[in-house]
Every structure is written in structure tokens, then in C-alpha cells.
């Protein structure tokens, strides 16, 4: 555990030593802020409209449905498709390019410790992003009255979604010495996984169902609504485990032939 934390701490510090962490945080808070403002503004317009129609005394539109859900489902997931590759692209590519991978692989660390350390380090930065999101959400509590419980599902969903992408991105980063390639391929893979449920629209074959099931979007739906469905949790945990496992295989191959 101590070894894992040593590697994780090193990774997390590396993000903040370089411009990457600040770039990711800036892009994220900028985009997040713009969309958050837009949804809030739309919501307010909607409330006024209902008041004009004489809805005095009736329930005002649900904050969770009108602001939080579209923000999470429609926006954050898409922003993350672009930002997670920025986080994961250096994980192994940079170590391979600079030769420091030799230091890690000749230290008395198991592959598992290296991989978990790197994964947790990247997850650390990702959690900083999530905290930013929830600072925005906190404003809703000051000026409105959203339901708190669905937010737990939102948070869990965002965490699992991001962790899944991080694990896959890390695996992709272990293929190459070139960060740009690692980032671009990760983005392409994420995008494909994101839209693979479109197959639903034109195919009802079994293969179509599989593609639809594999889609990242299908499984985020419930979380965004504020519902935790075990099968969605299983899906994302599987993505994480598969990502970590494939990274381990890739590291083995790396040792067999540099």
C-alpha cells in the first residue's frame, strides 16, 4: 500500500508541477461554468413563464431535472471525453519516452502497485475536477432547494464514468512513447464508446444490442436521473477492471520486448 501511495503521490504532484493540471482545471471550470449558467438561466426563464401562466402556488419546476441532469448527462460527460485523454496520455507514454519506466520496472514494485499507483494519481486529479463541479451545485442549495439524495447518485455516476475512462486511457498510454498519439487514440476510443448506442436506432440484431450495451451513455442515464442501478455500477466497475487488467498485460509485453 505504501508503494502504491508513493507512486500515486508522485503522479499527482507531476500533474501540478506541469501545466496539465491547471489547463485541465481551467478548461473544465470554464466550460462547466458556462453551461451551468445557461441551464440556470433557462430554468429561471421557465419559472417566470409558469408564473405568467398563472401557476401561482403550483410546484416550481424541479431543479434536479432542469439543471443537474442535463448538466451531467449532456455536458460533463462530453467535456470529460476530451479532458480525460489529457490526464491519461502522459501516464505511461512519458515514462517510456524519458526512460524513467526503467526505474519503475527495476524497483522492487509489483506491476500491480505501479498500475494502481498511477491510476489513483490520475483519479486524484479527476476528483479535484469533481469537487469543482459540486462547488457549482452548492450554489443551487444556497438559492434553491434541489433534492440532495439524487446528487449522491450523480456523484457516484460521475466518479465511475471518469474512473472507467481513466483506466482505459491509461491502458492506451502504455502502447506508445508519444503522448499526442496516446491522447488522440484515447479520445477516439472514448468517442466511439460514447456513441455506440446509436446502433440502436437502425439495428435490432444481437450485435446491435451488444454495441448498445457497451455504450458509456446508456449506463450513465440512470445516474443522471439520480437513480443507482446495480447493473450500471457493474458495467462501470467492469470497465475499470478491464482497463487495469489490459494495462497489466501491456506492461508485461513491454518487459518482454522494449
Amino acid at each position: 500500500m505504501r508503494n502504491i501511495l508513493a507512486v500515486a503521490g508522485k503522479e499527482l504532484r507531476a500533474y501540478f508541477h506541469s501545466p496539465i493540471a491547471y489547463l485541465v482545471l481551467a478548461i473544465y471550470s470554464g466550460l462547466c461554468g458556462f453551461f451551468f449558467y445557461s441551464f440556470v438561466a433557462t430554468y429561471i426563464v421557465q419559472v417566470f413563464r409558469m408564473m405568467e401562466m398563472g401557476g401561482m402556488g403550483g410546484p416550481s419546476p424541479n431543479v434536479n431535472e432542469w439543471i443537474i441532469r442535463p448538466l451531467f448527462e449532456g455536458i460533463l460527460t462530453v467535456v470529460l471525453l476530451i479532458l480525460v485523454p489529457l490526464i491519461t496520455m502522459r501516464l505511461f507514454a512519458e515514462e517510456k519516452r524519458s526512460g524513467t519506466i526503467e526505474l519503475l520496472l527495476t524497483s522492487p514494485l509489483t506491476d500491480f502497485q505501479i498500475i494502481m499507483g498511477k491510476f489513483l494519481g490520475a483519479l486524484g486529479l479527476y476528483i479535484v475536477l469533481m469537487i469543482l463541479t459540486f462547488i457549482y451545485i452548492a450554489f443551487l442549495f444556497i438559492y434553491g432547494n434541489p433534492n440532495a439524495l439524487p446528487l449522491l447518485a450523480n456523484a457516484l455516476g460521475l466518479l465511475l464514468f471518469g474512473a472507467g475512462l481513466l483506466a482505459l486511457g491509461m491502458w492506451i498510454s502504455s502502447f506508445t512513447k508519444n503522448q499526442i498519439i496516446a491522447g488522440a487514440v484515447a479520445f477516439a476510443v472514448f468517442l466511439l464508446l460514447y456513441v455506440s448506442n446509436w446502433v440502436d436506432a437502425y439495428s435490432s440484431s444481437n450485435a446491435g444490442k451488444v454495441f448498445s450495451y457497451l455504450s458509456l451513455t446508456t449506463h450513465f442515464d440512470n445516474f443522471a436521473k439520480g437513480v443507482i442501478d446495480l447493473s450500471d455500477v457493474v458495467y462501470y466497475v467492469s470497465v475499470i477492471v478491464i482497463g487495469l487488467f489490459l494495462t497489466a498485460r501491456s506492461l508485461e509485453a513491454l518487459k518482454g520486448r522494449p
Binding site: N3, A14, E102
Partner: protein, 315 residues
């Protein structure tokens, strides 16, 4: 301390290292000498556990590098050809990180970092960013990294490559200072390095061991190749013929001859110093001897002989 037995390493169809065997005993500095691409780095990577051997057995401090890899790595410090440093980290931060992953107990970490910084003469840059250091400093940070957990075995891949002469000198002194306490294997293709730092040398060429011995032994075995340069004034052909008749001379080559002077390169047979006889031969024949010197079989020459005439060395 290190035992390499019948080690073979293949990358696909290419054989990088073929059935090499050698060992290094405790406290010894073993030089690993060979041209680029001879298999030095591959061998070192197998010893450090970075690459698995295709066949053969390698043990470090009694631990098999494949079967008991983690234990073996605990006893090994490794400096790859380019120091494995993170440029964005500070020196002390980097050494503390390496100390942690190499299993230095938390309480001793600070002390170890200071100790190795002192030893490698980087104490004055501890709070500087590694990326901003000169190549020489970075190399020493790499060395400090390899020493941080006080390993029994140190594997140094071309530790002096790319340094200036002063830094090379300092690094060699440092390595000499490490022997006794640590078993050191260092690779190099620079020959003076070997005679200055190593107790024993393994010459490796094209993936095979070409010779093993102390630097002195290797030099002696090759003395037979020594040649003498003779410059004299006089009739060229006659001088040449006379020199060829000197006992112990195997071959005379005319190498230069301007202004009535002639310079000959005289090759002697093994274990025979022909210089006195050559001088006498020239002087007694009433020619004027201008210069006579051994062409000083440099270590570079020996190296070339070793790696190009293996069969002669092995006798």
C-alpha cells in the same frame, strides 16, 4: 554476488546475447567492455530484472532475477544509460520518491537522501529542479538514485557517457570509492575507464564473451602485438632489410619517408622486447637513428584487437 550462467536473450529472431557466463564477487568492480551493440545494455537489463532472459540463469545476491524478482531488485541499484529522472521534480523530492519505492524505511529516508547527496556531491543542488541541472549533475543524481537503498549490487550503464573530462574523473573516483562496500558492474566502451576503475574486465563482442581478466592481464596477453616505430636517415631498402634481420622481428612496414628519412613500423613477435636490438642494428650500420619509440599499444588498440581478432586472443 552476481552470477550469470549461460544467459541468452533473443528479441524475436535477433540474438542480442548468446550464452554468456560470468560472475562478480562481493566488493568487486567489474568492467563490461564492448563496442556499441555488443549486448552490454541487454545483459545489464536482464541482471536488473527489466528484461526476462530467454534462457539461462541470473542470480543477484543469491536471488534468481526471474523467480525472486522483487527480492533481487531490492538488492540492486541501477543507473541506465540516460539517468531515469523526472525533470519537473526537485533533487531531494526525487531521491525521496525513489527511496520510498525502493523500500527505504520512512524514518531513515531523510538521512539516506542527505547521505547519498553528500556522497555524489549533489548536496548543493538538493532544492533545484532536476530539469534545470547540467548533464553532469543529472548523471550524479542518477547515481545517487541507484545508491539510495544502499544496494549490494550496483549496475551502471555507461556512467561517464557525455560528461566532461573533469566530471569523468570525479565519477570514476566515486565509483572506486564504492567498491568494497558494493559490487559494481559498469559498462563502457571507453577503455581508459576500465584500467582506472575496474578490478576485472569482461570483454563482450557480438553477444559473446571475448575475454575475461584483470586489465593488466589483458594488456599483457596482447603485448605481442606491440610495435616499434623507428625513424632513421639512410638508404631505405637497406635499413628495412637490416631491421627485418633483427631477432624477434616478425614484420617491418615502411610507414613514412620524407627528406631522406625513413620511418618503419616494426612488429615484434610475442614476449620479446626488440627495441635495444633495433637501436644497435641501426647505429652499427652507420645510419643515423633519429627516433625510436613503441607505438604504445593503447588500450583502444587492445580493444580493437580483442573485438576483431577474438580467435587469436583465445589461443
Amino acid at each position: 554476488m552476481i552470477e550469470v550462467h549461460q544467459l541468452t536473450k533473443r528479441y524475436g529472431p535477433t540474438v542480442a546475447v548468446s550464452e554468456i557466463s560470468f560472475e562478480a564477487s562481493k566488493g568487486e568492480v567489474l568492467g563490461f567492455l564492448g563496442p556499441n551493440g555488443a549486448g552490454k545494455t541487454t545483459t545489464m537489463r536482464v541482471i536488473t530484472g527489466y528484461l526476462p532472459p530467454t534462457s539461462g540463469k541470473v542470480t543477484v545476491a543469491g536471488y534468481d532475477v526471474e523467480e525472486e524478482s522483487i527480492e533481487a531488485r531490492r538488492h540492486t541499484g541501477y543507473l541506465p544509460e540516460s539517468p531515469p529522472v523526472y525533470p519537473e521534480m526537485k533533487v531531494s523530492e526525487y531521491l525521496a520518491f525513489v527511496g520510498r519505492i525502493k523500500g527505504v524505511p520512512r524514518g531513515e529516508l531523510r538521512k539516506r537522501v542527505d547521505e547519498v547527496s553528500e556522497k555524489c556531491a549533489i548536496a548543493d543542488v538538493q532544492s533545484r529542479q532536476i530539469g534545470k541541472l547540467s548533464k553532469g549533475y543529472r548523471q550524479r543524481v542518477g547515481l545517487a538514485q541507484a545508491l539510495i537503498h544502499n544496494p549490494d549490487v550496483l549496475i551502471l550503464d555507461e556512467p561517464t557517457a557525455g560528461l566532461d573530462p573533469k566530471q569523468i574523473h570525479e565519477t570514476r573516483d566515486l565509483i572506486r570509492g564504492l567498491s568494497g562496500e558494493h559490487t559494481v558492474v559498469l559498462s563502457t566502451h571507453i577503455l581508459p575507464e576500465v584500467s582506472k576503475t575496474c578490478d576485472r574486465v569482461v570483454v563482450i563482442n557480438a553477444g559473446k564473451v571475448a575475454a575475461v581478466g584483470t586489465p593488466d592481464e589483458l594488456t599483457q596477453r596482447l603485448q605481442g602485438f606491440e610495435s616499434v616505430l623507428v625513424t632513421a636517415e639512410g638508404p631505405r631498402e637497406e635499413i628495412k632489410a637490416r631491421l627485418e634481420r633483427v631477432e624477434g622481428v616478425s614484420r617491418v612496414e615502411e610507414s613514412d619517408g620524407a627528406n631522406g628519412r625513413a620511418t618503419f613500423e616494426v612488429h615484434a613477435t610475442k614476449e620479446k622486447d626488440v627495441r635495444a636490438e633495433l637501436a644497435r642494428a641501426v647505429v652499427e650500420s652507420q645510419w643515423r637513428l633519429l627516433e625510436l619509440r613503441t607505438s604504445g599499444m593503447s588500450l583502444e588498440d587492445i580493444f580493437l584487437k580483442l573485438t576483431t581478432h577474438e580467435e587469436q586472443i583465445k589461443n
